[in-house]
Amino acid sequence: MFNRNVARTTTFRLTGALGGAFALGVLLLLGSVYLETTQYLSNRVDSILQVEMQQLSASTPDKVLRIVREKAVHDPILGLGLFDPAGGYIAGETILTPADMPVDGLPRNFAARRGAPPHRALASRLPWGQILVVQRDASQFLEIRHIIIGAVVWSGVVILIMGALLAFVLSLPSLRRVQAMQAASDAIGAGDLGVRLPVNGSGDELDELAQMVNRMVDEVERLMTQARTVGESVAHELRTPLTRLRATLDHAAQSVDPEDETAALLEKCVVETDGVMARFQALLRIAALEARSRESGIGAASLSDIMEQLAELYEPLAAEREIVLSKAIAPGVAVRADGELMFEAVSNLIDNALKFTPAGGDVFLGLSMTGDGAQVEVRDNGQGIAAAELPLVTRRLFRSQAAVKVPGFGLGLSLVAAVAALHRFPLFIEDAGPGVRVRIVCARPAPATPLRPSRP
């Protein structure tokens, strides 16, 4: 994983490419050294053989016979053999005979044989008809060639390994930087706007990119703060007058004769004000949830306990509305979550389900372990949500056309969505045909593989 990441960095690729080019150059160089050297060596051997042959050809038969017999040559690894015109042995100690090669004066290679080393040799007919074989031990030459080939291969291997190693080592710092940037981006994405991408001051392209992103985050943070400050001050400005209004209405209601018509009107005003206050509180609550730093309040939460408590809490209400509240709650299921908020969210779901299910209907509470994680499910077989309205239900203050007669503010599912988003738990609102099925999968989706810019 990590190695694949290293291989993807620009530094690694660049160093790799440079190292490759360098290695290729060195290989070419060594290759040409090899070719040139072997060429030179074999030319030299050939010229020795040919010169010897020429000198002896220019000599007299007696002299040649003597030289061959006495082996009177300067080169210790040179061998001479004299044969009669039919190829019969006369004198000398060559391993090769005219039977081994054409008598044409051209040097040839001969492999090792009869316990003797490999040779290069030529055979020529002397002016007086005898055949002279000149041979030279080629093992030295082959050894040199072998050494050169070894040098080429080993230095090539070493250069390639060193290059790859160097590329890897050089890429690590930039990979670490990218990983640090990715961690910072993830934190920013998760809502921590105080985090900035690391800048090391080198002014390279990564630094410039980081600075650019940081300027963007600065701006986003400024705007968010502005929006939140405005929202908070509006909320604060409204809270006090609403409290006063409610108190004044209380006061007024107490001051009039209960039998008076005004008393009934005031009572209505109090009820309406309470409605406004409840709506206002719910909106503020959702806003507070959305503005909340994501991790606070999150700990181990027993979903099994929460669901059992909720079933117990809503059982009497369901019974009163003649709705069968059934449950299938897996025991011992715990997740990392804010237990209070999960309780509140699921209680909103159950409240909705009970509201939109007629007497005689069923509401089902489920908690199960699925492949994706713990799944909370609230299902009813009530009137359901029209397909066209499904994408809209989590919007604030959205109320279904079919729900106009049911009391409520249209904030329940918004709160559920806010809680799910806070935990980054996927939320599904589906048509259960009939009725609605809402599922919260209590597991964060697996984080995207590091260094992959796109997310699924």
């Binding site: 107490q254 206002f280 509180q281 609550r285 909340r292 209070e340």
Partner: protein, 226 residues
Amino acid sequence: MPRILTIEDDADTAAEIVRALTDRGFEVDRASDGVEGLRLASSGGYDAITLDRMLQGVDGLALASALKDRGVMTPILLISALNDVDERIKGLRAGGDDYLTKPFALGEMLARVEVLLRRSAADAEKLLLRYADVELDLVSHVVRRAGRELRLFPKELKLLEMFMRHSEQVLTRTMIFEGVWGYTFDPGTNLIDVHVRTLRKKLEGPGLVDLIHTARGVGYTLSVQP
């Protein structure tokens, strides 16, 4: 006559709080800023304090913890515009005894102040509760009304316990939800009503008077008098 100190910088809100408390028969002093509040509260003699969380220039939480540091044990009802579980926890940790979020109904505020006034350590440790002809044994979980044993579910027992510990006091729905279930969000009116109705039905019997009464627009109260 219980004496209450209201520390609140908004004049109108303060006036309404003071009026509501006075109407209930309490003697009320008002402090309009933190300094005066701290001085009055430290001088003692109050049975409860209502304290605005955000006073001009002073953090109500700091004031509450300053009071507790000075050994002032007067129960404090924190009134705050900040409605978040975290804020509530912070408030209670700083020395508040209860927490109320703005905007609030005066009935809710009064009910909470009364609970604070009647709170005493001795009561909290009692394991056998009696009110009128009802007897609740918290050790054996046995409930008797007029000598007859009643069958109650655990949550109904807790609800009855809360009523009996605060007999003849108004309990609002949010107070009941907090006290019995331990959650602080608004549960909606019906949910708690149903639980109270169920308990009321179980306490009924031929020739017995109703004990749980509705305080209209506010909540419920356990009392022999309607």
